[in-house]
Symmetry: C2
Subunit: 366 residues, 2 copies
């Protein structure tokens, strides 16, 4: 975390304060209890969760959400898991990295619980917990509305419950869902998002119950980490080809922690297919790449690192500079330090867009 | 198929004759029968196949291998499916496109049959059929050895049966397998390939029994066409991270019809993970991108088409010019015409590598 290697223009960009679009808070031990009804506290104690994510009590073949995947220096001195101590988060991240605004994305897999009543209760509890433990205590932090996404009606209710609260900036989804996310069963969620004027923040992860590759479960965390990105691409493809953005042209989707270097070639490929097979998807009226450019934002962490660092500039250009949002993924192991994540110098105007202005515009901040 | 728009240098490259690394032959009606034992002919008549691929008789949610996905002008006048009439193939493709050598990849999903005895019989029949109906009749065509890949021992036997025959240039695999292809159960196949000195030709497709996305089955062929590429990437990742190329450094894998613009960023990402987590995969001794650059070839069809056509040159450069093999996918609908597939002019030396020399070197041809 030394600033000694900081280049002058990097420091200048920092002075304006950055918007970090991916911070992961965690409850203190037992910290979620006050937000869960007695009925669900008892259920969790007796039955555990019912889902695929470890936080919902199910088995998971690799430690994607395990605290072991956090930065080794992110464990608060006072105990608890990384991301659970607000004061420590301020001292370790918000203050030294000059984060003027941080977007919280809790990763508890609530929406993936197979017990749908539990999913509703957990999503609601996580929302109340974010407000009480982080957002109301720290004006630099804003939350993401959790929803039990497999139950569209309950999701709409949860969205409407919180949409008027400026403490929430977006509606959170995972990249793994029971069916591809563009299918009709999920549309009430998209309609609610458009109605209340909030973007969707789709973070890699969640669980569908299916393996993440077309050839089953991978062997290593290392391998699984990349397979997550395929899931993100499949979800983008599904939303575009099912016509979600024809129905809701203003809907914006922020893709969080899914990489971005794949986005241009996904657009090329889908356009080429669409040129020949648009009669299969007549509800998708424009070349798919246009929706990708106009309805999606990409957070930068984990930063793509070409062998020739300057080549990342072409990727940024192809995606569109106004579509990129800086993120650190604090406190996870693959944290991108805002001072060192970019291996190239950007013109100051570009840097401001990436680190602050794009997010401020998207989230309606001043 | 008009040549009127042909630019002089494109014509010059053609004059040398191209190597087409992806041609799909199909049997005439009942044409596979002579190569199947009576026992299996009867089995197929009574029970049909037992697998996920339509040619093995199972259901498939989209027509990936359906003849309906062929070029509309590729149906032979004399009847039968596209790819089934050798003389028509000569007149429509080999002659006018100056194909001096074409690599056959039959796509019948034989290896994906759940009935493993049937898979063995089908792989063997397809090999005999290729030899008798195409390779022995047309010196410009060479085959790919089919294997019942879920049964490694039977696969090794089939490889050894044909490896000495110059009519076969490679060993064929699909991109969907019951488990990620780098897992130990498949290593005898890789060891046999290395022993007999043949590359693996991995064509997109096959079936694992799992949906191709981490969120289940997509809705459209259009969507599924891209999801195939994720499967290819997962297989590359699996082979690299399981250490296949540390054990067999000379093994070469040709990725057919899986696109290629994704390859550079896959390498960047895996390298970044490896820098931090190589202790999880100590058998993977070098940065993953090095194996991708040294052990994989990429066929060009379906050609990637950036909005700014010249940007494809950077992608070629990042992958390595010597790793690219031209392919048409004849007779399928997304056939890449050798005269028009590239939207940019290449220096003549690069063009020769792409259209001919790389494949000649890989396959040991003069």
């Amino acid at each position: 975390m030394s600033t000694s290697a900081t280049l002058p223009d990097r420091k200048a960009a920092q002075d304006a304060g950055i918007i970090d679009c991916d911070i992961h808070p965690t409850p203190k031990p037992g910290g979620m209890k006050p937000y869960l009804a007695q009925r669900w506290q008892q259920h969790m104690a007796v039955y555990g969760g019912s889902g695929h994510g470890p936080h919902a009590g199910g088995a998971h073949p690799y430690p994607l959400y395990s605290p072991a995947t956090s930065r080794r220096d992110a464990w608060p001195e006072g105990g608890g898991l990384p991301g659970s101590d607000l004061d420590f988060m301020r001292r370790q991240h918000l203050d030294p990295n000059n984060v003027s605004l941080g977007v919280l994305l809790p990763l508890f897999g609530a929406g993936s619980s197979r017990n749908q009543e539990l999913a509703v209760a957990m999503a609601s509890a996580i929302n109340e917990w974010q407000l009480a433990e982080f957002i109301s205590k720290e004006p630099r932090l804003r939350g993401s509305i959790q929803i039990p996404h497999e139950d569209a009606a309950a999701s709409v209710a949860e969205i409407e419950r919180h949409a008027g609260n400026p403490g929430f900036l977006q509606i959170q989804l995972g990249s793994a869902t029971s069916e591809p996310i563009g299918r009709r069963r999920y549309w009430p969620i998209f309609e609610a998002a458009a109605r209340v004027g909030l973007p969707l923040g789709m973070h890699v992860g969640g669980s569908s119950g299916f393996p993440r590759t077309g050839a089953g479960w991978p062997s290593f965390y290392h391998e699984a980490h990349y397979d997550l990105i395929h899931g993100m691409q499949a979800q983008v493809t599904s939303m575009v080809l099912e016509g979600v953005f024809e129905r809701l042209p203003g809907l914006q989707v922020v893709l969080v922690e899914g990489g971005f270097a794949w986005a241009p070639s996904l657009g090329w490929r889908l356009d080429r297919l669409w040129a020949r097979m648009r009669d299969e998807v007549p509800h998708c009226k424009r070349p798919p790449s246009e929706y990708i450019k106009q309805n999606f934002y990409f957070t930068t962490q984990p930063m793509e690192e070409p062998d020739v660092p300057e080549e990342i500039l072409l990727t940024f250009e192809q995606i569109g500079w106004e579509r990129l949002l800086f993120a650190t993924d604090y406190p996870h192991w693959d944290f991108d330090d805002p001072r060192h994540a970019l291996k190239v110098q950007l013109p100051e105007a570009r840097r401001r867009m990436l680190f602050r202005e794009n997010a401020a515009r998207l989230y309606g901040l001043n």
